[in-house]
Amino acid sequence: MSLTNDYIKQRLTEKFGESISQVEESFGMMSFTAPKDLNLKVMQFLYDEEELQFRFLTDLTAVHYPNRAGEELAVVYHLYNFKERVRLRFKVYTSIEDTRVFTATRLYESANWMERETYDFFGVNFVGHPNLKRILNVDEMTYFPMRKEFPLEDQTRTDKDDEMFGRGGQIGI
């Protein structure tokens, strides 16, 4: 296997310089962050370069970090190179007020539904997406349910007297 994480890192820093940040390797997979305006350029570069050829978008999703001011939402791309069998994780951060991120649908057809799903659950607004509407939730929904401000019920709560479901009540579990 000739394509190493160090080489990818070197090529990326040659091309994009300081823009590439938070380069790290965990569980054998390299991960890095780029500014959100550059996401398409970085992906196009990874796609086109003869030695890199990351031509398979494995996965696209988002993560919400409510405590990181200005970069609350992380859009995470997992890319794969079929020939060298190398995986890569690539993130862009966006603020929750302005969630515009360029769409990857021009590059990868598979991004279409994955971006719709990400929009549906996190409200990331993919600019240029051909059909950005909710996919798994109902169209009438007005909020983005995977954000952390919508917690599920705490399973250990004790204030609720709900014997039928085994919480609280006389048994006091």
């Binding site: 991960s31 996965d59 997992h78 994955m114 659950f121 939730n137």
Partner: protein, 404 residues
């Protein structure tokens, strides 16, 4: 359709397409999803897919659940091969925690996973037969799914949504009866599969119905994010078991069957060939098990492996660890990882972010059929309505996995 060149009298309808709802509850969709087809006679002009009818917010629920309670959620993704999902999840957690499982556990897992792959493929291929009018093959094979379910039952107690195994291994050792059942399956299934192949593979009617239906090129398939048998039918030899071996798959010799045109017939043949490969893997695993100590069925990680119930009642340590695990006091390391495994219909990925808490900070399932179902509209464009039905079943869409 080509333009009409006949001059029609004033006021007549020149061309008319109609809208047809295929689904959400249609016997031919084998699951709850809708396709709104625009048809011109029998020919499909365009289509729009609507999914989400059985969305259950697993990713959200998982953010509140301790790790061992997420296993039952994974059951309900691709429920035709639930053990693969269960073990994929366990292996993800093990990788995060750095747990190394003994070889015997790996081989036992491989046996169960390959059995699950066989059941998944036999359902899919049987259903392709049913949708093209050949019910017989489906009935021949269905009996053997029952045999596999008996094996699951012997190992873990349940059948469809198995919740099989634990982080670190299995909940109990395989009984001699379980091995007998596996041996019986290995002896009887090849006979039935040969019969099924004789019935279908060179069947003129079946070939006419499936060849050239819903084809996709390798290039488009990769761009659409195809994985698993559907990608291999298009000619790309991508299999996670070989590309990035997990669970000691590197110890086994097997081929990756590939097709050429990516049409329904190729997908059918690839799945059949994979069943033979899975049988060979199970046989190899059974042979390898003979050389290993027969009492090892889990890794020695008391802090994460949920102890046996009888031990909880009688042993102090087991009781302590039982409480620690159930009450969520076992430390889970912070970390971020993407763990792919070869599910029965494609690459099943677990993207797990742990902040060290009791439950994941974020868990995302890469569900293969959610990603490749996007291509359906392109596959059935200009096809006949009856071809659309076969195409859907040969893609092996599972509604539970589609909607998560």
């Amino acid at each position: 359709m080509s333009e009409q060149h006949i001059t029609l009298p004033e006021g007549s309808i020149e061309r008319q397409t109609q809208t047809l709802n295929l689904g959400p509850t249609h016997p031919a969709t084998h699951g709850v999803f809708q396709n709104i087809l625009e048809i011109d006679g029998e020919r499909i002009v365009s289509s729009e897919s609507t999914v989400g009818y059985i969305h259950r917010a697993f990713e959200k629920i998982a953010e509140r659940r301790p790790y061992y309670q997420i296993t039952p959620l994974t059951d309900r993704l691709n429920y035709c091969s639930a053990p693969i999902n269960n073990m994929g999840w366990h292996m993800t957690v093990e990788r995060l925690l750095g747990i190394k499982t003994p070889k015997r556990v790996d081989y036992l897992r491989i046996i169960i996973m390959e059995l699950a792959r066989i059941t998944d493929h036999l359902i899919c291929n049987g259903v392709v037969g049913v949708d093209s009018g050949a019910f017989t093959g489906f009935l021949y094979l269905m009996k053997y799914r029952e045999l596999v379910y008996e094996i699951y039952e012997e190992v873990c107690g349940s059948r469809l949504t198995t919740n099989i195994g634990r982080v670190g291994g299995f909940e109990r050792n395989f009984t001699p009866a379980a091995f007998e059942k596996i041996e019986r399956f290995l002896k009887e299934y090849p006979v039935a599969l040969t019969e099924f192949e004789t019935l279908m593979n060179r069947n003129r009617i079946f070939m006419e119905r499936t060849q050239g239906v819903g084809p996709i090129t390798a290039e488009r398939a990769m761009n659409y994010g195809f994985t698993g048998p559907n990608l291999r039918a298009a000619g790309v030899d991508y299999d996670v078991r070989v590309a990035q071996p997990y669970c000691s798959y590197e110890d086994f010799e097997f081929n990756i069957p590939v097709g050429t045109t990516g049409d329904c017939y190729d997908r059918f043949l690839v799945r059949n060939a994979e069943m033979w490969e899975s049988l060979s893997i199970i046989r190899q695993a059974m042979d390898k098990l003979k050389d290993l100590p027969s009492d090892v069925f889990h890794a020695d990680v008391p802090a994460y492996y949920l102890p046996e119930k009888s031990a909880v009642y009688t042993k102090m340590e087991a009781l302590i660890y039982h409480f620690k695990i159930i009450m969520g006091e076992s430390d889970i390391l912070p970390g971020e990882l993407y763990n792919p495994i070869e599910g029965a219909n494609g690459e099943l990925g677990f993207y797990l972010i742990s902040d060290g808490g009791r439950s994941p900070y974020r868990l995302h399932f890469r569900r293969p059929c959610f990603i490749y179902y996007q291509a359906y509209g392109e596959l059935i464009k200009d096809a006949m309505l009856s071809d659309a039905v076969i195409c859907m079943s040969s893609l092996n869409l599972i509604a539970g996995e589609l909607d998560a």
